[in-house]
Amino acid sequence: MITLEVRDLVAGYGPVRVLEGVSLDLTGGEVVVVLGANGAGKTTLLRAISGMIPVQGAVRLDGVDVAGRRPEALLRKGVAHVPQGRGTFNDLTVEENLRVGGFTRTSAEVAEDTERWLDLFPRLRERRDQRAGSMSGGEQQMLAIARALMSRPSLLLLDEPSLGLAPLVTADVFSSIHSVVGELGTGVLVVEQNANLALGIADRGYVLETGSIVSSGTAAELSADDSIRRAYLGV
């Protein structure tokens, strides 16, 4: 069981500071959601955790500080990141996308996992030899998640999986995420604007506003919180 502890994380781009000291925790097979509006720093948070941008503060995996390590290093420690906008390899086929996802694993493991995820996402199996760029947004999002799972991560970072997807498709994607993590025991840190669906599959949640965590609690507590309901659930 992996544990992630983020402490006083400060990060940004050049002179612009986006994260003003964020702390959060995640244990084992938990699904944790970070809610926030556009520009709150959600994407920056994930990029900072997975080592894509320089940071101050601590990012501890199983107690070991990995802040500032490159994404490859974090991947080898079991952290897989699905970037915003899905980040599929549009010129590669579905199967090749999965093979790139398993780049750090042996070919036997890759072959085994490819079948496993194609079983789980039958739509991807139908499109196995099709270019990823020719698929629909929802299919690409599924592919992006399957690709990330190819590295057999113990922690999955998901950047706004609902972005650009129709509500029904989003629901589909979230239920897939839910069934996968249930089966694997993978921890999931998902940042979202769409609080409704995200809280539906999450155990706990945090609310990020202009670079700081402003509240936290279990999914049920957050769903019941009036201010959160107004801001993120649109009720």
Binding site: A80, D91, E96, R99, V100, F103, T104
Partner: protein
């Protein structure tokens, strides 16, 4: 008929060289979206290195392979030391073009300073023999070169489609950020891409030298222009396009120069130039390229 067959083979012979150099250009473009204007001079420079080995008594094929290895190193270092500092593929393409033109000058002049401006003699690797095809005497050299080109195309096809390195190269081309997140070492992969391109360029150079039976500092300049034309015609992101484009450019140039008196040997470059303008107007992505390249 005999003359026609002769010209077709002459055109193919020239086209093979353009095709190999265009392949080098396409490999770099695919890996990093950049054009290397020093590609031809790099090829010339590594050919002089091969000549140095030859002169020291190393057999032709061994010298060629050594030159390709040296070329690989130069290409990889060039990427690491210069292109990365200018921001790599995400950097300013204008600045990178200017830097490759600077390299063009340094390599061209540098080779002259190191090895002298006069051509040096090189053996014709496939010999001077001829075979008769449809009444025309075709040099074994052409057939040998076509064979080498076929081997290169198959080799690169296998490399790109069947190996993990090829997958990494294609992944980096398609989406650098995601490739990095999936554990692909992006910098190393791009260094290998630039290295491979220079190694292919070295082959283009040694085969050109073998065809001319000499090596000199200006031997690749016209070839580079034809290679760019070939890549434009075939599509900058298509290795197959580079090869087909190279052969077409070689053929068209030879036939137009041979049969259209107004153009003649003085204006050898004109048919290729016009072809490029037409392609850019009518089908900017090239015959085999994908449309995104044109608008990139």
């Amino acid at each position: 008929m005999q003359l026609f067959v002769q010209r077709v083979f002459d055109g193919l012979q020239a086209g093979v060289i353009y095709a190999i150099l265009a392949l080098a250009i396409v490999v770099i473009f695919r890996a990093s979206g950049l054009l290397n204007f020093a590609q031809g001079e790099l090829a010339m420079f590594t050919t002089f290195i091969a000549w140095t080995f030859l002169d020291a008594g190393v057999p032709w094929w061994a010298a060629t392979i050594l030159a390709a290895v040296v070329g690989f190193g130069i290409g990889a270092l060039l990427y690491r030391l210069l292109i990365v500092r200018l921001g790599g593929p995400a950097g300013n393409p204008l600045a990178i073009v200017i830097v490759t033109i600077g390299l063009f000058l340094i390599l061209n002049d540098g080779a002259g300073i190191i090895w002298g401006a006069n051509p040096a003699k090189v053996p014709r690797v496939f010999g001077d023999g001829r075979v008769e095809v449809l009444g025309a005497g075709i040099s074994v050299q052409v057939l040998g070169l076509l064979g080498v080109l076929a081997l290169l195309v198959i080799g690169f096809g296998l490399l790109f489609q069947r190996t993990k390195l090829g997958l990494a190269l294609r992944a980096v081309t398609s989406n650098q950020e995601s490739a990095g997140l999936a554990g692909v070492k992006v910098m190393t992969t791009l260094m290998i891409g630039w290295g491979l391109a220079s190694a292919i360029g070295a082959l283009a150079g040694t085969f050109t030298a073998s065809q001319n039976a000499s090596v000199d500092t200006n031997m690749m300049q016209v070839a580079l222009i034809y290679a760019f034309a070939a890549a434009t015609l075939g599509g900058f992101d298509s290795p197959l396009g580079a090869v087909v484009g190279g052969l077409i450019i070689g053929l068209v140039s030879e036939l137009v120069v041979g049969y259209v008196d107004v153009i003649g040997p003085d204006l050898r470059l004109l048919p290729g130039f016009v072809l490029v303008l037409v392609v850019l107007l009518v089908r900017p992505q090239g015959l085999f390229g994908s449309a995104q390249v044109a608008r990139a």
